[in-house]
Amino acid sequence: MYKLEAKNANLFYGDKQALKNINIGIKPNSVTAFIGPSGCGKSTLLRCFNRMNDLIENARVEGDFLMDEINIYKDINTYELRKRIGMVFQKPNPFPKTIFENVSYGLRINGMKDKKMIEERVVESLKQSALWNEVEGSLHKSALSLSGGQQQRICIARALATEPTVLLMDEPASALDPISTAKIEDLIYTLKNKFTIVIVTHNMQQAARISDKTAFFYLGELIEFEKTKKMFTNPEEEKTQNYITGRFG
């Protein structure tokens, strides 16, 4: 059984087709990397799973997207869906609020009032995102006072607080230095036990290091979807071979 699934998925921005007949199934508790050159549709596909493309005025989606075999576009309301699927963005985007307010945001908009429960969830999420040791005692400082890497982990903690089962990451380390990147990668590795993670990345070494399976996209098509090990040693398709060896992209 798949955690996330796309069936015959097409997406159009106005007249331009950004996704072409995508079929993909993602298993629970795994890390899946989406790779491909810019404009290949990898981020677009990622954003279909939590309906973030709805925010783009002229985007139109066809086909079926499923989470736990529930149709994402038909059988669940968008707000509920986004609570179950956490998202981390390319640039760290903490709110200009305190660390505590950032992490508790999802709980509060859900209507959670019990202070003790909120506190427990915040601490738990910060521990899960490997940030607790660094921010313990300064929870009421502005999140913007942290470093870029810490801000990104705040964003991960914020996404984890509502206890989602899926985590979508759109190039989460592309704006970070190598040390912060390594921390995020370690984190992704440990989070795999509890979450299904899909990560878009431009960095092929990163995909090779952290993912179980890799999907290669090119011009809106899914060219190849394979175990990462196989993909990076012995890909089936010539295009994949060319891309991962750096001949284009």
Binding site: Y79, G86, F95, P96, R108, C155, R158, A159
Partner: protein, 291 residues
């Protein structure tokens, strides 16, 4: 060539000096005449007396009635303009389509382009009679009607600047909020408005300054009667109105009566100067720097 460059630089500097010098000159004139005024009238009398009757035979020089009139009309205006102006700004930025905003914002800004004398007659001839049908005991001249109209006049100040402030908030914050499952309303009020708060507060302060200094609307519709009252149904006189009244009348220059307008003007200036400084400080102190 170098000579020409120097000349241009000098001319540009001279231009900027004109505005600085004008401000200084105004402050000096206000200060000198106010000083002469306070040689004859004690500051205590000025600040505590509840009567303002410099033009009567029995003279009292208490600024409080004029100040009350000013604050009353301004408070009414702000009470109208802040909720309306902010709601419009949030609607334009968070709900309406960008195309709709592009059309509506300039239209809204023309509200600020209507001559205030038109607003004044609108208040006197239309709003007051309309209100009189619902509010018994509302005078033909009152604080309420010009206050309300003034509120409408300053809506664009609040909307325009607040909308700019909201638009300056990175849309990545909006995405983050939606990504957590927040509704539009939650995103607007829990993320966008707090993130834009310094700009919003500056817009409100600017609107207050504008309302404090507004002259024509209150001169026409508020009644020019200095009264120590907080009752919006009664007629009042604002500081600005009083200044107009005296400078248009036949009060001899270089008399105590004439100098009252400088003392009154100084009071008004101090208020707006203070507000300006608060907004400057707010802008510096609370501007959030995003990555």
């Amino acid at each position: 060539m170098r000579y020409k460059e120097k000349l241009i630089e000098f001319l540009m500097m001279a231009c900027s000096f004109i505005s600085v010098l004008t401000t200084l000159a105004i402050i000096i004139i206000l200060a000198v005449d106010s000083f002469q005024f306070f040689e004859e009238v004690s500051i205590k009398e000025f600040l505590t007396s509840k009567q303002w009757t410099p033009l009567f035979s029995e003279k009292h020089f208490g600024i409080l009635p004029l100040l009350m009139g000013t604050l009353l009309t301004t408070t009414i205006a702000i009470a109208v303009a802040v909720p309306l102006g902010l709601t419009i700004a949030i609607y334009l930025n968070e709900y309406a389509s960008p195309r709709f905003t592009a059309y509506v914002k300039p239209i809204l800004e023309t509200l600020a382009a209507i001559p205030t004398v038109v607003y004044g007659f609108f208040a006197l001839q239309f709003v007051t009679p309309l209100l009189q049908q619902f509010i018994p005991g509302l005078g033909g001249f009152n604080a309420l009607s010009p206050g309300l109209v003034m509120g409408i006049m300053i809506i664009p100040y609040i909307t325009s600047l607040s909308e700019d402030a909201l638009r300056a908030v990175p849309s990545s914050l909006r995405e983050a909020s939606y990504g957590m499952g927040a509704t539009k309303f939650q995103t607007a009020f829990r993320v966008m408005v707090p993130a834009a708060s310094s700009g919003i507060i500056v817009s409100i302060i600017l609107a207050i300054s504008r309302a404090l200094g507004e002259t024509m609307i209150v001169a026409i519709a508020a009644g020019q009667e200095p009264k120590f009252t907080f009752n919006p149904k009664e007629s009042v006189e604002t500081i600005t109105t009083y200044i107009v009244q005296v400078s248009m009348g036949d009060v001899p220059q270089d008399s105590l009566e004439y100098r009252t307008i400088f003392a009154a003007g100084m009071t008004l200036f101090l208020f707006t100067f203070l507000l300006n400084n608060i907004s400057f400080w707010m802008r510096k102190r609370f501007t959030i720097r995003y990555q």
